[in-house]
Structures are given as C-alpha cells and as structure tokens.
C-alpha cells in the first residue's frame, strides 16, 4: 500500500504541476510538451487503479496523435501567442470561477452517486472481476466476437472519412515538377550533355 500511495502522490503532483505549466509557459511548444507530461502522469494514475487498457489508449491516442497534431499546429501556424496571453489574463477571474463551480459539481456528483444494484445486475455485458481477467483481455473477449458488427461499421466510417478528406482537399496541380525516376535513369551523356565551344573573351 505504501508504495502505491507514494506513486499516486507522485503522479498526481506532477500531473497538476505540469497542467499548471501548460497554461503558464511562455513558449507554446513548451506548453504542448507539458501537456504530454500531464497525459503521461494521468496514464500512470489509470494504471494504479487497474485500468491498464485506458492508460495505454491515453498514451497512444492523446500523446501519439492529438499532442503531435497540436505540435504541428503550433509550429506551422503563425499564431501570436503573446497577444493571446495578455487577453487570457483579463479573463482569468471568470475562468477561475467557472473552474471552482465545475470542481464543486464534480465533487457533488461523484461523492453523491451510487450505482443502482438492479441496473448493475441488468448490464448488457458485465465486466469480469479484475482478479479473473484483466481489462485488456475482457475487452478483447467481446470486441472481435460479440461486437464484431460494430467494429466493422466503425471501419467503414473511417473509410468514408478518408475518402471524404481526399475528395474535398486533393488537387492535382499540373504546373509542378515531379520526380520521374525512369526518365532520370534513361538519361545518357548524349541526351544530357552538350559541348559548346566558347570563344575566349566571351561568355556563353
């Protein structure tokens, strides 16, 4: 228990500290890097509660995809973050008020909520106890068997999203030079080099 508590406080402290750094760092790239640190610590907290699948998904999806996308946006778009920050400070009191209300609501809801035993009994696919089967195994048990239909439709949705992105954005430009490897390989000294006699004292 002692070790678990130690890690809980470690992860929780770093998560809160780096979340604070996300909004207070001067350099937006630093903000994104602190955001990644926050995600890592949140994943650590998930691991401590036994939700290892959620922890890994958090890393893969948020760190691997979303945070990298943020980094790209921050680096590629020329956003004047200094100007945004001075504005943000003006709104800080309102933001703090909303944050406090949200925190109180969360405390009330989580503190006061119970899972009704009848409904827990009726659950569509009950979760096996952690001692029997880990999260990842329990999800794997149903994802490709019981829920294979949903899995396949989700695949089709992604296909449509991909077709849509290509249809709406791909433009075949005609006036750009592209590499043509076969043409490059087929070049011979005769076609590529021409010898020009230059008279002394004159340029070409």
């Amino acid at each position: 228990m002692g070790l678990q508590a130690l890690f809980f406080y470690l992860f929780a402290f770093i998560a809160i500290a780096s979340a604070f750094m996300v909004i207070s760092a001067r350099n937006p790239v630093h903000s994104v890097l602190f955001l990644i640190l926050t995600f890592f610590n949140a994943a650590g907290l998930f691991l401590l509660t036994g939700a290892e699948f959620l922890a890994m998904i958090l890393l893969v999806v948020y760190v691997g995809a979303v945070a990298v996308l943020f980094l790209f946006v921050v680096m590629m778009l020329d956003v004047d973050f200094a100007a945004l920050r001075t504005k943000a400070l003006e709104y800080a009191p309102v933001g703090a008020l909303i944050g406090i209300i949200l925190a109180l609501e969360l405390i009330f809801v989580i503190g006061g909520s119970t899972i009704s035993p009848e409904i827990a009994k009726k659950a569509a696919v009950p979760i096996p106890a952690l001692t029997e089967r880990s999260n990842t195994q329990a999800l794997g048990d149903v994802l490709y068997t019981h829920y294979v239909y949903f899995f396949q439709i989700a695949g089709l949705v992604l296909l449509v999203a991909m077709i849509g992105a290509i249809v709406l954005t791909l433009k075949h430009r005609t006036n750009v030079k592209r590499q043509n490897i076969s043409a490059q390989v087929a070049r011979t000294p005769e076609t590529a080099v021409s010898i020009v006699k230059v008279k002394p004292g004159q340029g070409i």
Partner: protein, 480 residues
C-alpha cells in the same frame, strides 16, 4: 458469439455485405482508372443497388443477427426498398447532371453507395450502438456529397454548415443514448423496453429520451432542428439535394419508428407529447415559411419540413394504422419529391445554365407543356388535393391520429395543409398564366423518364395504390 451464429448472422445481413464489398470494388475501379471512369462507376453503382434490392426482396428472412444488433422483418425490408429506390433514382438523376457539369468525380457515386449502406444498416439497427454507428456512416457520406462541388462557395458552405450542425446533433444523440444506457443498463431495443415500465420511469431516462429524439429530429429536419435544411438544399448540387430529400429521410424515420415503437414502447405518453409538438411546429413552419421563397430548391426544403411534420402525425398516433400511414406517406412523398427534383434539374436554359428561381418557370405551359403538366400534377399532389397520391398519404395519417384521440393534431394538420396549398398553387399559376421570358433546353431522356413515371404514379394512385397500401400494412404489422 460462436462461429455458427456468426455465419448465420452474415447470411442474414447478405444484402449489406454485398453492398459493402461492392462499394469497395467500385472505389478500386475508380481509383485505378481515374476520373474518366465516372460514367462506368455510376452505371455499376445503379446495377449494384438494383442487385441489393433484389436480394432484399428474394432472400429476405425474418430474424435478428450479431447478438441482437441487427434485425430483419417485413418493416425493415419495406423501408430498405424505399431507401434503395430513392438512391437509385438520385444516381440516375446525377448521370445527366454530369454531362452538363463536367466537375463530377468518381467518388460521388461511391459515396452515395456508402451512404445507402449506412441507411440500410440504420433501418436494420436493433441496438443503440449500431444505430449510432450506422447513422454516422450515412451522415459522414452525406456531408461530403453536399460539399462535392468544392469550387463553388455555396456548395462548400452547405457542406460545412451541414457538418457542424450534424456533429452537434450527433453529440445530443450520443448524450441521450448514454443516459438511456445509464438508466436501463441495456443497449438493445427490446432489452431497453423490458427494463422500462410506464409507472417507474426515472427522470434521467426522460432526459435521455428527449435528447435522442432531438438528435433524430435533426436528421429528419423537423422543427425546431430544421435550420440547416434550406441552406443545404439550396447550396448542394441539385442531384444531391434530390438525394437528400428522399432516402435519408426514410432511413431516419425508420429508426425513429423503431425507437418509439420498440425501445420506448412502455413510456408512450412521454414520447407522444414530444412528437405531437414537433409535428405541429414542422407543419406550421413548413406552411408559412415557404410562402416568401423565390428559389425553388429552398421552397422544396420548406415543403420537406412540412411533409416530415405530416409523417410525424402518424408516428405520434402510436397505433398500427399510424405506422402503416407513415410508411405509405414516405413512399408517396419520395416519389413526388424525386419527380419534382427531376423537373428542377430540367430547368436549364439553352446556353446550359441551370436556373432555380420560381419565376423562371413562367410560361412553361407554352414552351414545354408535358413538363408543365407533370409539375402541376406533382404540386397538386404535394398540396394534398384529391384524387392524387398526396391526398391519400395525408388522409391515412390523419385518420390514424383521429383514431388515437389526437383530434387537435389532426385539425391543425388539415389547416396547415390548406395554408401550404398557397405556395404550391402559386407555382402552378406562374407556369400556366404568366408570360414566358425564356425557353428551357430539351430535358435529358432520364429526367423525362423519372418525372413522367412520378406523374403517372400520382395520377394513377387510385388504380395502383392497393398493393402498396397492402405492403405498408404488412410492414406495420411487425410491431403489433
């Protein structure tokens, strides 16, 4: 799920499997042969949809599959055929459009096929997860086809607006579903119904119901979730608008009927008052807001809002007559709407420019009497004047409402259809009594075929409507 049940499930969902695999093959053909293959891919898509329709008719078996996530019965088959027919006609309408606007790409028919697949899965959905996923499959494809003409500002705006509002409605739908799941512990429709009783329904569940109904009302463009409709109808290319006006509405109505007649059957009083409200609001807005419209596509958008209101009257009635009335209504409305859009697509000047104003129809009776006659019949039918098909559609849903003691709803419906007559008749007046300023070019063959057939349908409904009514009645019997 064992191997045997999986194979049985795959067999039951054979039409969808064929459609999904066919869509992938069409995509491959398009990708490998480039934009010159648009004609081939469109033709093959039509053939594929016809083949799937034949499978639905001849290989249709009742039952559930994939651990209860998919269901097939007479109702499902009726709606699937309706959605397939709407998609086929919309694809045929696009053939001629491609000839005059060479900007169409091969992805267009492929996306239409994928949207149709989404609709078929929606109609078959028997679980809130499959409902949501199939709805997203359909909507995502529709957002893209609305913006397919990406060089036109209007089309891009239509696609973006549709996407943003659609994403919002999906969020509401998901939130409602999560509440329903949280308060029943179930995702299957019949399991949800089993977990509910009329007396002991919790407040959280009613909230869930409201959010789910709001999300679906957006998809069928019922008031107060109709804001996107006129802009999207006006901005999207006309064959796309024709597509939007028929098949997706059929699919969304099918899931609404499934939800209220199966999943939420025990709490009929809770959903009935919501449906009565959105039905009255849609009928009234459809009747009044269309009066000032000068663009015929916007006018058709308000007309579709009104017609969805009339169809909701049947669902709100909540009895077998109501459901069969709605099915009949959707079938007749699809025919009328596709016919009207075939006429709108034929509004093309001699120099190839397409026009959309209602004034552009002036004097059509002199320049193209056949089209003027068909459009007049369709307008009379949309207004609900006997003995045309549109009258019978309205008659059956109002009778069902009277039988369910919703007298106020029926009276308000009749009154708003009287108001609605004004703008339909105004178009007839413009065509027959105003002087012609310009002449349209000769309509393409497939447009003539489609508006001719729909004109014959609305005028001959008294003779040919029997089997359709019988099929709708048989389909509605799957719930009672």
């Amino acid at each position: 799920m064992t191997a045997e049940t999986l194979i049985a499930s795959l067999q039951l969902s054979l039409p969808e499997l064929v459609l999904a695999v066919g869509a992938l093959i069409l995509l491959m053909i398009g990708v490998f042969s480039g934009d010159k293959s648009v004609g081939t891919v469109t033709g093959l898509s039509v053939l594929l949809l016809i083949a799937v329709g034949a499978l639905v008719v001849f290989k249709g078996v009742d039952g559930t599959a994939y651990a209860g996530a998919y269901r097939s019965d007479a109702f499902v088959r009726f709606m699937k055929l309706l959605a397939l027919a709407g998609s086929i006609v919309a694809l045929v309408l696009a053939i001629g459009h491609r000839r005059s606007e060479p900007d169409m790409r091969f992805e267009y028919p492929v996306l239409m096929v994928l949207a149709t697949l989404g609709m078929m899965l929606m109609i078959s959905a028997n679980d809130i997860i499959s409902l949501y996923l199939s709805l997203e499959l359909q909507s995502l494809a529709l957002y893209v086809v609305a913006a397919i003409n990406r060089d036109s500002v209007k089309s891009t705006e239509a696609g973006l607006k549709y996407f943003v509002l659609g994403a919002l409605s999906s969020g509401m739908l998901l939130y409602g579903m999560s509440l329903v799941y949280g308060f029943t512990g179930q995702t299957g429709f019949s399991e949800i119904a089993a977990a509910l009783t009329a007396e002991h329904r919790s407040l959280g569940l009613v909230f869930g119901l409201v959010f789910v109904l709001a999300g679906i009302a957006f998809k069928i463009s019922a008031v107060p979730f109709h804001m996107w409709t006129p802009d999207v109808y006006e901005g999207a290319p006309t064959p796309v608008t024709a597509f939007f006006s028929a098949a997706p509405k059929v699919a969304a109505m099918a899931i609404l009927i499934h939800l209220v007649a199966v999943a939420f059957k025990p709490i009929v009083h809770d959903w009935q008052q919501i449906l009565v409200f959105i039905s009255i609001a849609s009928m009234a807005l459809g009747a009044f807001a269309a009066i000032g419209q000068t663009n015929i596509k916007r006018l058709m958008a308000y007309s579709s809002i009104g017609h969805m209101g009339y169809a909701l009257v049947g669902i709100a009635a909540g009895n077998q007559e109501g459901i069969s009335g709605v099915l009949l209504y959707l079938a007749i409305y699809s025919v009328m709407s596709l016919g009207a859009f075939a006429c709108i697509l034929a509004m093309r000047l001699k120099d190839g420019r397409a026009v959309e104003g209602t004034d552009d129809l002036a004097g059509l009776s002199k320049t193209n009497p056949v089209m003027a006659l068909v459009l007049t019949l369709l307008m009379f039918s949309l207004a609900g004047i006997p003995p045309l098909a549109g009258f019978f559609a309205k008659y059956f849903v109002f009778m069902a409402a009277i039988k369910a003691n919703l007298l106020t709803l029926a009276i308000l419906g009749v009154l708003s259809s009287v108001v609605g007559c004004y703008y339909y008749l105004r178009i007839v007046k413009v065509m027959w009594f105003d002087d012609a300023k310009q002449e349209f070019s000769r309509p393409a063959g497939e447009l003539k075929l489609i508006y001719g057939l729909s004109g014959l349908f609305v005028i001959g409904y008294l003779l040919i409507g029997g089997p359709l009514g019988a099929a709708a009645e048989a389909a509605a019997r799957s719930f009672y």
